[in-house]
C-alpha cells in the first residue's frame, strides 16, 4: 500500500517535471531562436536595401514600438511581424538600432498607464487605430497604438503598423531611410467630387499611407495646394470641366506628378450586362500631352481571359467566369511602377496610345501591355461573355495594346494654344518647369478590386510620382504568387478528380496487396 502511494507521488512529480521540461524547451527555443527563410527570393529575410541602410547607421537610432498587448486579428499578425522585424534589424545593426517596445497592457491596463501611453504616442505623432474585440459577450472597439517611431538626432519618423505584415519591411526601411536622411514625408492629393470612390477613407488608403500622407482635394477653380507632391485621380464617374483640367494642367506644369486610373465604361447598376460610357472630361487634357485613352474601344483577349464576377448563386456565393474583357496581361515593363509584379488582370480596360507624347520628346514607358492575342474591340456595349467570344474582324484591331503607361518629361501645357477657361492662374506656365511625371491606366475601380497586385501597382505608382521609387523593389517582395497557366474546364475537372481519387485508389491498392501478402505468408 505504502509502495503504491509512493509510486503515485513519484508519478505526479515526474509528470510535473515532464511538463516543466516542455515549457523550458519552448522558452529556450523562443529566446534563442533563429528564423530561416526558405522562400526562393528570401522575401522574409532582411532585403539588401534594408541591410545597406542598417550598415549606414552612424549614430544610434531609437525605435519606439507601440504595440497593443492583446491585438485581435488581423492586427495580431502585424504585432508579431513587427516585433520579429525589429528584432532582426536590431540584431543586424549590432546595437546601432535600439528597440524599445511599449506594450499597452491590453484591456486590463490601468487608466493612468493608458493615459500616459496615449500622451506619449500622440506626442510623437503616432495616430491611433481601432481594434475590434469581444468583451462581456459584446463586440467593442478599442483604441490602440500600433506603429514605430524612429528617432535619430533631431529627426523623427512615424511608421504606422498598417494591417498587412507583408507591408512592414517596405514601410520600416523607408522610415529608416527618411530618419537617417531627414526627408519629409510626401503628401499626395486624392481627387474627389467627381464620383470617385472614397479612397481616403478606404482600406486602400491604409496601404498608401505607409509611404505618404493623403489629403482629399476638390479640384475646382483655384490652384491645387502647393504642399501637394502628387495628385491621384481614381475612377471618376462625372466629367472634370475645362477649368478643373486647367488646374490639373498647371499642377503638371510645376513639375508635379499625376497618377490616373481611368474607367471609360462601367456596368450599368440596374442592367449589369450593359456597358455604359463614362466621360472623365480629361480627354482634352491628356490629348494636349499627346496621350489618348480610347473612349470607344476596349481591350479583350480570348486566350487570356481573367476572372469576372457575373452574379450570385441562390446561396449568395459570387459566381465568376473567365471573361475576355478581364484580360490577363502579358508584358510588364521593367519599371519602378511594375517592379515585383508579374501579371495583372485589367478589367474593362481602354487601350492607351501615347505615341504622340513620345514624338514630342517625352519618355514613354508602356507599363502594362496585352498579350499578342489581345485585340482592341470597337463599339462593344454588352458585358455578356458571349458578346465578346466571337471575333468581329471589322471592329477589332490587333497589335500592341498598351493598357497603362508612364510618361516623364518637360511636357507642354495642354492649354498652350487654347483659350484658358476663366482667369489665368498666378505663375501660369506653358512648359513644365522641371520634368513632370504621369502614370495613366485605362482601367480604374474594377482594376483595383480585381487583385491585390493592383494595390501594389498603385503604391509603386504613387512612390514613383513623388520621386521615391528606390525602394519599390521591396514592395515586390510581397507581390502575389505567380498566376497559373490557363487550364481548360475539362482539364480542371480531370485535375480535381485525379487528385481526390488517386490517394484513395493508392491506399486501397497498397492495403489489398499487403493483405494478400500477409495471407499468403500465413498459409
Amino acid at each position: 500500500m505504502a509502495m503504491r502511494a509512493a509510486a503515485r507521488r513519484r508519478g505526479w512529480l515526474a509528470a510535473a517535471l515532464w511538463v516543466a521540461l516542455g515549457v523550458l524547451a519552448a522558452m529556450a527555443g523562443a529566446r534563442h531562436g533563429v528564423r530561416l527563410d526558405l522562400t526562393a527570393d528570401g522575401r522574409h529575410g532582411i532585403a539588401p536595401e534594408t541591410r545597406a541602410l542598417i550598415d549606414a547607421i552612424d549614430d544610434p537610432v531609437e525605435a519606439l514600438a507601440f504595440v497593443p498587448s492583446d491585438a485581435p486579428p488581423p492586427f495580431d499578425r502585424v504585432v508579431r511581424a513587427l516585433q520579429d522585424l525589429l528584432e532582426d534589424y536590431a540584431r543586424a545593426s549590432g546595437g546601432k538600432l535600439r528597440v524599445t517596445v511599449r506594450a499597452d497592457g491590453g484591456a486590463d491596463a490601468s487608466p493612468a498607464d493608458r493615459h500616459a501611453l496615449r500622451a506619449e504616442a500622440l506626442g510623437l505623432g503616432l495616430k491611433p487605430v481601432d481594434l475590434q474585440a469581444w468583451e462581456a459577450d459584446r463586440r467593442i472597439v478599442r483604441r490602440a497604438y500600433l506603429g514605430v517611431v524612429l528617432l535619430h538626432g533631431d529627426h523623427r519618423v512615424v511608421v504606422p503598423g498598417g494591417e498587412r505584415p507583408e507591408d512592414l519591411p517596405h514601410a520600416m526601411t523607408r522610415g529608416l531611410r527618411d530618419v537617417l536622411d531627414g526627408r519629409h514625408r510626401p503628401l499626395v492629393g486624392v481627387a474627389h467630387g467627381h464620383g470617385e470612390p472614397a479612397l481616403v477613407d478606404s482600406p486602400v488608403a491604409a496601404l498608401l499611407r505607409t509611404g505618404a500622407d493623403l489629403e482629399a482635394v476638390e479640384i475646382g477653380v483655384d490652384p491645387l495646394p502647393a504642399r501637394l507632391d502628387a495628385l491621384l485621380i481614381v475612377a471618376p464617374r462625372r466629367p472634370f470641366d475645362a477649368r478643373a483640367c486647367y488646374v490639373i494642367d498647371q499642377f503638371v506644369m510645376q513639375g508635379r506628378a499625376v497618377v490616373m486610373l481611368l474607367d471609360t465604361v462601367e456596368r450599368a447598376p440596374s442592367f449589369p450586362d450593359v456597358l455604359v460610357p463614362v466621360g472623365t472630361g480629361l480627354e482634352p487634357l491628356l490629348g494636349g500631352y499627346g496621350v489618348r485613352v480610347s473612349p470607344d474601344r476596349l481591350a479583350l483577349d480570348r486566350a487570356h481571359a481573367g476572372p469576372a464576377v457575373v452574379g450570385r448563386d441562390p446561396a449568395g456565393r459570387t459566381l465568376t467566369v473567365d471573361h475576355p474583357l478581364h484580360l490577363v496581361t502579358g508584358v510588364l515593363a521593367d519599371h519602378p511602377v511594375t517592379r515585383g509584379l508579374r501579371r495583372l488582370v485589367m478589367p474593362l480596360a481602354a487601350p492607351i496610345d501615347a505615341r504622340e507624347a513620345a514624338a514630342r520628346g517625352a519618355t514613354v514607358t508602356p507599363l502594362v501591355r496585352g498579350e499578342s492575342t489581345a485585340v482592341a474591340r470597337r463599339g462593344l456595349r454588352r458585358f455578356d461573355p458571349r458578346a465578346a467570344r466571337d471575333p468581329v474582324p471589322a471592329d477589332e484591331e490587333s497589335g500592341p495594346i498598351d493598357l497603362a503607361v508612364a510618361i516623364e518629361g518637360r511636357l507642354t501645357s495642354a492649354f498652350a494654344d487654347r483659350t484658358i477657361p476663366g482667369d489665368s492662374l498666378p505663375g501660369a506656365r506653358t512648359v513644365a518647369s522641371v520634368p513632370a511625371r504621369l502614370v495613366i491606366a485605362g482601367s480604374g475601380a474594377r482594376f483595383l478590386a480585381a487583385q491585390a497586385d493592383a494595390l501594389l501597382f498603385l503604391q509603386n505608382a504613387v512612390d514613383w510620382a513623388v520621386d521615391d521609387a528606390s525602394l519599390s523593389g521591396l514592395r515586390g517582395r510581397s507581390a502575389e504568387d505567380p498566376p497559373l497557366a490557363p487550364v481548360s474546364a475539362r482539364g480542371r475537372a480531370a485535375i480535381k478528380v485525379a487528385n481526390i481519387a488517386a490517394p484513395l485508389v493508392l491506399c486501397a491498392v497498397v492495403g489489398l496487396w499487403r493483405r494478400r501478402r500477409r495471407r499468403a505468408r500465413d498459409r
Binding site: 519552448a26 527563410d37 526558405l38 497498397v510
Partner: protein, 237 residues
Amino acid sequence: MRALAVARRELRGALDQPLAYVLVGAFAALSAAFFFVLAPFFAEARTTLRPFFEFAPFALTLFAPALAMRTLAEEARGGGLDLLLSWPLDPGVVVAGKFLGAWGVLGLALLCTAGLPITVSALGPLDWGPVLAGYLGLFLYGGACLAIGVFASAMSSHQVVAFIGGFTACFALYLAGRAQVVLPAGLASIAHAIGFEARVTGFARGVVDTGDVAFFVAVMVGALGLAREAVDARRWR
C-alpha cells in the same frame, strides 16, 4: 534503439489494419477536395499551396487523435500492454515507440498529399521553399497532436474515449490563439502563447522559426512524458 524496434512493430501493425488506410486515404482525399473544390484554387489561379496549409492543421486535429487512439488504449484493453510492460522495457520506450510508429503513418499521410504540389508546379512556377517548410510545419504540428492523442490513449482503455479526449485537447489548443480576443488580458497572453494555429502559419509562409519548432517539440516531450507516467502507473494498479 529499443524504441525504434517498438516503432517498427507498431508501424507494421498499423499497416496491417484497414483503419490506417481509411484514415490516410480520407485525409489525403479530403485535403485535395478542399484545395481544388472548396477553396477557390482555380478562381484565384495562383501557384501557391497556402489554402492546403491553412486547411491541413484543422484536418490533422481530427486525424492525429484518430490515429493515436488505438496506440495504448487497444493494447491495454487486449492485455498486450501488460505483457509489454512485463518485458525489461522502460514504459518511456514503449510510449516513444508507439508514438514514432504512429508518426510514421502520419508522415505517409502527408506523403499521400504530394500530388498537390506536383500538380501546382506543373501549372506554374511554384516556390518549393514554402512548400517544404509547410510540410515540416504540418509534420511537427501533427506530431504534437499525435503526442496529445497518445497521452489520451494512455489514460483510457477505451479507444473512443481516448479519441474524444485527444481531439478535444487538440481542438482547444488549435483554437486557443483565436480565443484570445474573448479572454481577459492575463489569459489572452497564455492563450496566444499556447495556440497551435499561429505557430503553424509561419511555416506555410516559408519561415522556419526555431521557436515554433521548439514549441512543437516541447509539446511532444511534455505529452509523451505524461503518457509515460500514465503507463508506468499501470504497473502499480
